[in-house]
């Protein structure tokens, strides 16, 4: 964890010195994680792609204008969260779409079952009404970030995250029970 943070700091310094490849490395490192977060929050692939692009542009501006960056990963997630919130605010709707883009699958039976389970869990996540709980489910159980990292992203205490993780999982279980 500490080494990863140090690497990020080195990349930021290199980027500030004019090394565009350093920024490309930051992009490669975080693009998938950020996309997944945006996709599970919005349920829309195109929108997720657009928001992730904007996040990187904003982060580039911040890197270049000398803003103090303590933890790059937390900063990127925070920027993305704000962009998602802005998007729904501008649409005057806080309700997120219920249906996910489900890619056409022409797989074997086993993979179809796996897809069904996955879709069920995805839908259940979408039905978690508390946005904090939903974010915690994505960050803690899908991305497997540590409580410390999540606390930085959501700007709250670690104790609070630990409690909310438990509650979020309980709510998700309740929703899944309703399905069955």
């Amino acid at each position: 964890m500490q080494a990863a943070n140090l690497n990020d700091k080195i990349l930021i310094i290199k980027a500030r010195l004019g090394d565009k490849e350093a920024f490309a490395t930051i992009y490669d490192k975080y693009v998938t994680k950020l996309y997944r977060f945006a996709y599970y929050k919005t349920g829309n692939r195109e929108l997720a792609e657009d928001l992730v692009s904007q996040t990187f542009l904003k982060s580039w501006e911040m890197i270049l204008n000398g803003g103090h960056i303590r933890a790059l990963q937390a900063l990127l997630y925070q920027m993305l969260r704000n962009l998602i919130a802005d998007h729904y605010r501008s649409k005057q709707s806080t309700e997120l779409p219920l249906e996910y883009d489900i890619a056409a699958d022409n797989n074997t039976d086993d993979r179809i079952h796996a897809t069904i389970d996955r879709e069920l869990v995805k839908k259940a996540i979408d039905r978690v009404t508390n946005q904090d709980y939903r974010e915690i489910i994505i960050l803690r159980y899908i991305e497997e970030l540590s409580i410390t990292e999540i606390a930085k992203i959501l700007d709250t205490t670690k104790g609070n995250i630990a409690t909310m993780s438990h509650r979020a999982l309980t709510e998700l279980k309740k929703i899944l029970k309703d399905y069955s």
Binding site: D28, T32, E49, V52, L64, G66, R118
Partner: protein, 320 residues
């Protein structure tokens, strides 16, 4: 159910963005970003630091830094040895904050908080010996804060599946028990109602920390992080200490409290203590025999008896 659900959630990590989009977006971003708008000083936020360039080249200022370092090292010993109320104590508070900032994981944080709690307990003993009762209530509050923070960080470390936390859990538990004993013995010296209320509140918190760390040890055992023998061993020691403490407390109280005024039957209390000792002896015998199921059953029983005795005596107020 939890494990299955978490495994299912982990599988959602297989969702990845479209590879073509990733590459084209990367190229598009790199072509959009421009460096020319910002000078190097802007990029490193150096504009506000007006004296930056002069400072590193002026030998006199380097000498000043060295002088400050010598003074700093000289006074660091005094800072570390300072007690609440001393002129150097704020320096110690800053050192503690720096130590916490350097702790990068919850387990390390728990360790640091526990170390601070241990130091505060030592401070309290020194303050009591020197008769500076004025600072005791404040230090007890800070001790409470450190203990609670240590237990919370330990809880988080355990939730993050960090191994080898058992020693730390036992250390925090020991500290909480020591703190509880100290407050219990000292609280009667505080006549002011406000200070007494603080002491009673901290007493309840330390008891919670003690119970919480015990529960954590049980949960570590449940997750096979420590063996049954290790867990049972630790529990026997902890509960043995708790029983000795409560038994001493009862004996001390019986001598100073007028039983006739209260509806306390000391005979029943002593019978309970004897029963707890007997149950604990059986637990020790079963520990030797390797029958851990029986050990935990007996320890639970002993703990319940101790809790009942503690409840009985908790409301007794000793008149001055």
């Amino acid at each position: 159910m939890n494990d299955q659900l978490i495994a299912q959630l982990n599988k959602l990590r297989s969702e990845t963005p479209d590879r073509t989009w990733m590459i084209s977006n990367r190229e598009s971003l790199l072509s959009q970003i421009e460096m020319n708008d910002y000078s190097i000083a802007d990029r490193f936020g150096l504009k506000s630091s007006l004296y930056f360039n002069y400072l590193i080249h002026v030998p006199a200022k380097v000498a000043l830094v060295l002088f400050l370092l010598v003074i700093g090292f000289g006074s660091s010993f005094m800072v570390k040895a300072s007690l609440p109320g001393d002129a150097f104590y704020p320096g110690r508070v800053i050192i503690e904050k720096v130590e916490l900032m350097l702790a990068t994981t919850p387990a390390k944080e728990a360790e640091v908080y526990n170390k601070h709690a241990q130091q505060k307990l030592a401070d309290l003993k020194k303050l009591q010996a020197s008769g500076s009762n004025n600072n005791i209530a404040g230090t007890v509050k800070r001790l409470e804060k450190d203990l609670v923070a240590a237990a919370t960080s330990l809880d988080i470390a355990q939730a993050e599946n960090v191994d080898s936390l058992d020693k730390l859990a036992v250390d925090i538990n020991d500290n909480a028990a020591d703190a509880k004993d100290f407050i219990d013995q000292t609280k009667q010296e505080f006549i002011a109602e406000e200070s007494l209320a603080v002491m009673n509140q901290v007493l309840a918190t330390t008891q919670n920390v003690e119970d919480k760390t015990l529960l954590l040890l049980v949960s570590m055992y449940g997750q096979d992080k420590i063996s049954a023998q290790e867990t049972a061993d630790k529990f026997v020691t902890i509960i043995d200490n708790q029983l000795t403490t409560v038994s001493n407390k009862v004996q001390a109280l019986e001598q100073v409290v007028e039983t006739s005024l209260l509806e306390i039957d000391w005979t029943i209390t002593y019978t309970n203590i004897r029963e707890a000792y007997q149950v604990l002896t059986d637990a020790k015998a079963n520990l030797q025999a390797g029958d851990y199921t029986a050990v935990f059953k007996e320890l639970t029983k002993a703990k319940t008896i101790i809790k009942n005795i503690e409840n009985t005596i908790s409301n007794i107020e000793v008149a001055e």
